[in-house]
């Protein structure tokens, strides 16, 4: 524990330094208490650091998360522990005694905390089961996070300009056969964003989004989608592609345009797969460690009477509970923080 930490003598352990975890830590500190934020990577920020542009306002996600991280670093009630994992936890009278490990040095230390916030976030599903799309088989096929990196490269003038880009939604979502039956919530919106960015960078390129539905349930979301279609001229085709095949250095996307009712084959240079959102594998282990339950997919289940609580003195926020956009992750982080503050206030 950092001896220079100030704040009232209650400490929350926040596991995960993405938007949900950062917001939780900041709000807990705002409430007067201490937070130890552990993050397995070597910098805090989570997924927003990897994103190029955002919906619905085309803002740079790194900016906002950057400001939050600055606040985090300046805050004397918060200790940030990077490249750190939680090895084990033992229950105490009023919380947990946790063992933290520094993955870079191998050093371990223990810490007494009176609350835990799980904020381990989400990742994208492994797509090796989708041989028909050829991820990691054909070079031009990327998942949506990999594509964010490509957008950044293109924006810097690196790499070859594409003549055509095809974005495929629902890869692994809404799939009872080899994926997950649920909808991953954010892909319709981020695909629209990605498509719009490509058109901004390369106005002459053909950009297609293959969709089954377009889910735009949020403030400004439908307007954003219409802007992408009507102002940026991205072509939306309703049909889940059947196959991606290489030919002559390009990629052929075979699908049906279901609104017309005709099979189609479009050539693209890059194919982007909006992969299903799944929890990180550590989430299940951590849930077990702290007595929380997970659903059949590994996402954290909430307590019947509180959406932010999952076990006694244990709360959660963000992608580890289900697919979430940055706005919601922040709100959930704040909600978890409110629960922690109330708990600490009640315990005096």
């Amino acid at each position: 524990m950092n001896e220079a930490m100030t704040g009232k003598e209650h400490t929350a352990l926040v596991i995960g330094g993405g938007p949900a975890g950062i917001e939780a830590a900041l709000k807990i500190a705002r409430g007067g208490y201490r937070a130890v934020l552990v993050e397995k990577e070597n910098e805090p920020g989570g997924i927003p650091l990897k994103l190029f542009s955002s919906f619905p306002r085309w803002e740079n996600p790194s900016d906002r998360i950057g400001w939050m991280v600055n606040d985090l670093k300046k805050n004397k009630q918060i200790e940030i522990s990077l490249e750190t994992t939680v090895e084990s936890a033992a229950g105490t009278d009023n919380g947990f005694n946790v063992t933290l490990k520094n993955t870079a040095t191998g050093d371990a230390r223990t810490l007494d905390v009176q609350a835990v916030v799980l904020a381990t976030g989400f990742r994208l599903m492994d797509l090796s089961a989708y041989g028909e799309y050829g991820h990691r088989i054909y070079p031009g096929v990327l998942n949506s996070l990999e594509f964010e990196e490509r957008l950044r490269e293109w924006s810097r003038g690196l790499g070859k300009a594409p003549q055509a880009v095809a974005l495929i939604q629902c890869v692994g979502s809404r799939d009872r056969s080899k994926g997950y039956p649920y909808c991953s919530k954010i892909c319709c919106m981020y695909s629209a964003k990605q498509a719009g960015v490509v058109k901004d960078l390369f106005p002459e390129a053909k950009v297609y989004v293959f969709y089954i539905d377009c889910r735009a349930a949020g403030k400004g979301y439908e307007e954003f989608l219409r802007e992408v279609i009507e102002k940026k001229h991205v072509r939306y085709v309703r049909g889940r592609p059947a196959k991606v095949l290489p030919e002559g250095g390009r990629l052929l996307v075979r699908a049906e345009d279901t609104l017309i009712g005709i099979p189609v084959e479009f050539a693209a240079d890059v194919v982007v797969l909006a992969a299903a959102v799944v929890p990180h594998p550590e989430t299940a282990a951590l849930a077990k460690m702290f007595g929380a339950s997970i659903d059949e997919y590994g996402f954290i289940d909430h307590d019947p009477r509180s959406h932010a609580k999952c076990a006694d003195r244990v709360f959660f926020a963000g992608g580890c509970g289900f697919a979430v956009d940055t706005e919601s992750a922040l709100s959930q982080g704040a909600a978890a923080a409110a629960e922690v503050i109330t708990l600490f206030n009640d315990n005096g």
């Binding site: 009872r176 056969s177 089954i212 309703r238 889940r240 059947a242 075979r254 699908a255 009712g261």
Partner: protein, 202 residues
């Protein structure tokens, strides 16, 4: 002319699935992955598995019953292989063809197989050649490479095969389909909407 709710057949998806082989048609998202991969749809665009499912869920019987399209499915099952909901479309198609045949549609696409079936009842094997020359050729070829001239199948096997066709009513079902009663099929999906709506009123 608008189709009315009353024009549509209730629970058609359950009615056509007489053998309980396709119990999940309602999970179809109409995503089109089936038609996207279908080799027949690629060649005859009016053949569209997704549209057939849509018709059935909508309670429209007429369009597919009288269609030429349903006779084009190759049973390659690529639709099922890729379907995210595991809908076994070929098993649906098989049953739609029964419906059609029992209404005297598509009989010309059934007759060659009845002929093969009659020979199979004799031989216990399917696709045996009809003429003596064909049989001789096979027997010579097999003999040359050291196999028994004709595939080794016992009289007992052939007898039991025949009996099962009789006992299950399969032979009677095949015999009941009359060539003379055949009604013509057309590319109904190419022609556009054929609706079950009553003509009067409109």
């Amino acid at each position: 002319m608008r189709e009315r709710d009353a024009d549509r057949v209730d629970n058609l998806d359950r009615l056509v699935d007489r053998y309980h082989l396709v119990e999940n048609l309602e999970s179809c998202l109409q995503c089109g992955k089936c038609t996207g991969v279908c080799p027949v749809a690629n060649l005859s665009p009016s053949y569209n598995p997704r549209q057939v499912i849509r018709d059935i869920l909508a309670g429209n019987k007429d369009r597919w019953l009288r269609s030429e399209e349903i006779w084009r499915c190759l049973w390659c099952a690529n639709c099922y292989t890729l379907c995210p909901m595991d809908i076994p479309f070929p098993l649906l198609m098989m049953q739609l063809r029964y419906e059609a045949l029992e209404n005297s549609y598509g009989v010309k696409y059934f007759l060659p197989f009845r002929r093969f079936a009659m020979r199979a009842l004799e031989d216990g094997l399917t696709f045996t050649p009809g003429g003596a020359r064909g049989r001789e050729r096979i027997m010579k070829l097999r003999g040359r490479i050291g196999l028994k001239p004709w595939p080794d199948i016992s009289e007992k096997a052939r007898q039991e095969y025949r009996e099962l066709f009789e006992a299950t009513g399969a032979k009677a079902w095949m015999d009941a389909i009359k060539e003379e009663e055949e009604r013509p099929v057309t590319l109904t999906y190419l022609q556009g909407r054929i609706t079950d709506a009553k003509k009067k009123g409109g």
